[in-house]
Structure formats: structure tokens, C-alpha cells
């Protein structure tokens, strides 16, 4: 399976030139993924027990002698462990959050020990639907058990134990990654000093779930999906996955952002040309959908969207978010983006309000950005100033 390089920043060129130059000086440089195998039996929230599992991860920077400077980066729907740097000098693109992670960047690898992990159920090396089911010897496929954000947090904590990290200076994530940061604060109150929750709601709305269901249905209706057993037939539901991703991308951008970027520009300049793709925005969606369908696993996509849908940390507390965060000890940074309608600032505000009601330390900011939900991946002066400033202060606090 091809390596996933994460969501493409919305303003990157569609075909990046292959570079043979040395990585830029603010890059973590060439990095290599590591694999951790766990023999432990893991009973998932759904009740299914895995006999063991692998997690693939990367680290950047150095763990200090006090082991107090570790930061965990949680990925979103289509991300993975490769958050920063390059795997080879020829890589066209760096890790998915390279804009934010590196020497002198907001998540400064000269001061923090940064851990990126591919979540359980992923398709970039960690145990997931692509892996062999020990009971059958065949790939799990759609039979891979349902995995929740809580399960991910638990396995991330097991990885932290393996790395000798008892307490993270910060757990950071955007979108689905932000939900993991929040779950960390709830499930491991003494193992996380700061929870940085970016562009994430406390749970999905019916509309959010509806978009996910359309994406799943697109995949499942593809004749090549074969009930999720497409590996054995040497097929892949590319058309379905492409459609799922196209729908996703519409929800990741804003109307204004799309208007600015694509407007109503025709691809060829002529109305009614024989071309399949007529408007620039179509070209963008086709490119995104096609490239994604070639590198991402359809069963993992379904699994990840399910994890999104099920996320609701308040559920165990009679639906009361204030009670859910009552025992947390982390300080929170909650960031949202003005044009994000998938997970709007108002949804982030629900988390902020619950934290205030529970008398927890919290900083919240709404960053003005035209890029919709994708904003969390894109450089923005104020976004980076707040995030970097918060982490600077967090480090000073940890040192004293």
C-alpha cells in the first residue's frame, strides 16, 4: 500500500516538483518511521479483543532527562504518523503538519520531543483492516473491529509507556485529532499537562454524521468494494473512495475560500468543450479524489469516520460535558477558525463553556481564516502566534 502523505495543504500546487535539494533548515530533515509491537491482549470498547497489535510512529527532537518535554501529535481522518520531515531526500512533500512542526516552528523540535503515531485501524503500517487477521490469515477487511477515540488514546498511552513518557507536556490535534487530545485529558488526567484541541467539536452533529454516511455509502456502493473483501480479489473501490473524498473536500473548504481560489474559471476557457472536467473546482476535486483513492484504504476510511461519529465523551456522564471534564487536570487551548462550517467556532465554544463551568484552565481563540476546516493545516500568522506562544508559556510553566 502506498504511503500517505496526509492532506495536501489547500494552496499547494497540484503537482509538486520532485526536489533533490537538502530539506529546508526549519525542517526536522530525513526521518524514519518506527514500529512498536504489543503482545498484550487489547479489549476494545466494542468488546472485541485483539491478541496483539502494532503501532507505527515517528519521533522528532530529543526527550529530555526529566522526560517532561514530550508532545503527542494526534492525526485526523486521513493523517498518519508522518507529521513532519521527509522519508527520502526525493520526497515531493513533507509530513502532513510540517508547517507547524520543526526547529523554530510553533511545535519546536529543538525544545520538544514530538511523537506522531498512526492510529490503530489505520492503513500506514499500524494494525488495521489491511493487516492479517490471525484467526484466518486473511486481511481483516471490513471485519476489523470498530475502534473508538477512547481505544486510540489507550493504545497511544501504551506507546508512551514504551517510549518512557509518563506525562505528555501536550497532546495536540486538529479535527479528529483534537477529539483525541480532549479524550486524553479525560481518560489520563495525570498524564497530560496541556490539551490542545483545534477545530474540533465535543461530538458530531447530525449533519456531520450525515456527511460521513454519504461518504461510507459511496464506498460501499462501489462494485469493487465487495463487502470490504476487495484485497483478496485484487481490487480496490477507487470510484467510491474518490467520491467520498470529493464530498469530504467540499466540507473542508468554505464557500468564500472556494470562490477566491477557483471562482467560476473554466478549465479550457470554452463553454461546452468536450472535456470531462469543465470548471477549475471540478479539476481540484477530481485531483483530490483520485490521488486519495490511490493511497488510502477504503475500510480504514469507513473505520475512521465511524470513530468520528461515535465520539461523545459526555455520553458516559449522562450527556453532561461539564461532568465529563470535571476530573481533568490539563490546561486547555481551544482553537477554532472563522470560516470552518464543518466544525464551527460555536462547536469549539461548547467545549470552552464546559471547561469554564468546571473551573478548568482554558485559553480559546477564533482565528480569522478563509480556508474552512482545512485552516488547521495551513500557515496563518495569528494561528501560529497563539499556538507557539501557548507552547512557549507551557514549557516555562513545566520548567518551574
Amino acid at each position: 500500500m502506498g504511503r500517505l502523505s496526509g492532506p495536501r495543504p489547500a494552496d499547494a500546487p497540484e503537482t509538486a516538483p520532485v526536489s533533490t535539494a537538502a530539506p529546508p533548515t526549519d525542517s526536522v530533515g530525513i526521518v524514519a518511521p518506527c514500529r512498536a509491537h504489543f503482545d498484550d491482549c487489547l479489549t476494545l470498547q466494542c468488546g472485541v479483543t485483539l491478541g496483539g497489535f502494532d503501532l507505527v510512529y515517528e519521533t522528532y527532537g530529543t526527550l529530555n532527562a526529566e522526560r517532561s518535554n514530550a508532545v503527542l501529535i494526534c492525526h485526523a481522518l486521513s493523517g498518519n504518523h508522518h507529521a513532519a520531515g521527509f522519508h527520502t531526500p526525493d520526497d515531493a512533500k513533507p509530513g502532513w503538519w510540517d508547517t507547524c512542526i520543526g526547529p523554530g516552528k510553533p511545535i519546536d523540535t529543538e525544545r520538544f520531543f514530538v511523537v506522531g503515531v498512526n492510529n490503530l485501524g489505520g492503513c500506514d503500517g499500524s494494525t488495521g483492516p489491511v493487516s492479517a487477521n490471525p484467526a484466518t490469515g486473511e486481511p481483516w477487511g471490513a471485519a476489523f473491529p470498530t475502534v473508538t477515540v477512547k481505544d486510540w488514546v489507550r493504545t497511544q498511552a501504551m506507546l508512551a509507556d514504551r517510549l518512557g513518557v509518563h506525562r505528555f507536556a501536550a497532546v495536540i490535534g486538529g479535527s479528529l485529532g483534537g477529539m483525541q487530545a480532549m479524550q486524553w485529558a479525560i481518560d489520563y488526567p495525570d498524564r497530560i499537562a496541556n490539551a490542545i484541541v483545534i477545530a474540533a467539536p465535543p461530538k458530531l452533529s447530525a449533519q456531520n454524521i450525515a456527511f460521513n454516511e454519504i461518504a461510507r455509502h459511496a464506498i460501499q456502493s462501489d462494485p469493487d468494494f465487495l463487502g470490504g473483501r476487495y484485497y483478496e480479489a485484487d481490487k480496490r473501490p477507487r470510484r467510491g473512495l474518490m467520491l467520498a473524498r470529493m464530498i469530504g473536500h467540499v466540507t473542508y473548504l468554505s464557500d468564500d475560500g472556494m470562490g477566491t481560489r477557483f471562482g467560476r474559471e473554466l478549465k479550457s476557457g470554452d463553454i461546452g468543450s468536450a472535456q470531462d472536467v469543465q470548471f477549475q473546482v471540478e479539476s481540484y476535486l477530481h485531483y483530490q479524489g483520485t490521488s486519495f483513492s490511490e493511497k488510502f484504504d477504503a475500510n480504514t476510511y469507513i473505520l475512521m469516520t465511524r470513530a468520528l461519529d461515535y465520539f461523545d465523551p459526555a455520553l458516559e456522564f449522562d450527556g453532561d460535558l461539564v461532568s465529563a471534564v470535571a476530573e481533568t487536570n490539563a490546561r486547555f487551548l481551544i482553537l477554532a477558525f472563522s470560516s470552518d462550517w464543518r466544525f464551527s467556532p460555536a462547536r469549539s465554544g461548547e467545549i470552552v463553556d464546559a471547561l469554564i463551568a468546571a473551573r478548568k484552565d482554558v485559553v480559546s481563540a477564533v482565528i480569522d481564516s478563509p480556508h474552512g476546516h482545512d485552516s488547521f493545516l495551513i500557515y496563518n500568522e495569528r494561528y501560529f502566534e497563539v499556538l507557539g506562544g501557548y507552547l512557549d508559556e507551557a514549557l516555562r510553566r513545566l520548567d518551574t
Binding site: 469554564i356 463551568a357 485559553v363 480559546s364 481563540a365 477564533v366 506562544g389 501557548y390 508559556e393
Partner: protein
Amino acid sequence: MRRDLEIIAALIKPGARVLDLGCGSGELLHHLAQEKGVNGYGVEKDAAAISACVAAGVNVIEHDLDDGLARFPDSSFDMVVMTETLQAVAEPSRLIDEMLRIGDECVVTFPNFGHWRCRAQLATSGRMPVARHLPHDWYSTPNIHLCTFRDFELLVNEKGLPIIERFVVNGDHEFQAHINRFPNLFGTTAFYRLGRAPL
């Protein structure tokens, strides 16, 4: 620390829960956290001020006061503070009601439009006063609801709110005898500590 913030800090009990509306760079909350173990939150809409709060480790919520305070529950704070902001909000009267819904008490400070310099400028030149404590031209001022101390007290009386304490100071935030005799003429800034209307 800013002298006016020192005056306010002295009014706050150790360990109190404080909400600071228009908290600026978070100076008051930082001081209260260090000196009095106060668990507080600032509310601010200015990006540079929010960054300053972040750097100081102050809890700050990005929020525009003109969007109301419905997100804060009843009686969730001991004290709600608002310095030099009342005159710049869209609905000052409603905001005072909201402050005392959220907090048991509130402290409000604002510049006095009844200061003798303002009166003299308006009377002699026939133009909108510009003074050290009111430095903007009429067309660019953020101060859209200016009032005098007397105006404010009339509103407070109408609402039936008890004035627990009142301090009036000059432009350097100093107390002076002549100000106390004629506060609405010589006072630049007033600090009103208000309680809830008795049931």
C-alpha cells in the same frame, strides 16, 4: 501594574472567582493569580491582547461583549470586572444586568464625560471634547456610550442596584480631596462596586 488595576485588585478576596470583561493583556488576572490565588478568566476580542494573555499564562476567552454573555451561567463568578469598557459596548445597561446575573458583585470603571474639562470644551468651543482620558475624535472613537457619573448613578438607582463602594480618581488614578467634594466635576474615572438588587 496599572494604578487603576491595583485599586480593583484590592477589592477582590483571595481565592475568588473572577471574570474580567475586556481584560486586555491580562495584567489584573495575572496579578490576582500570583498574589491572591484567584481562579479567573478574561474575555477579550483583540488579537494582540489575547496573544499577550497567552504569553502571560492567563486564561482568556476570545469573545465579543456585544454578542452578549449568555454563555456564562448564573452565579458562576464571585466578581465580574469591567474596566474602561462600558462606554464602548452596544448595550451598556443590559451588560450591567448580565454582569450581576453571572457574578455576585461587579466592579465597573469608566471615564467621566461630566469632567469640567469636557464641560468647558463643549461650552466654549461648541465641539465634542477631546481630553487625556477621552483622546479620540468623535468619528473614530470606540466610546459610543459616554456618560457622566450622575448619569450612571441614575441608571443604577433605576435598577435598584446597591452601590457597595465608589472611588473617584483623577487622570493619574490618584485620590484627591476636591474630587471627593465634587466628583462629577473633578473626577476623571470612577470605580463602582455594585451588588445585586435585593429581592
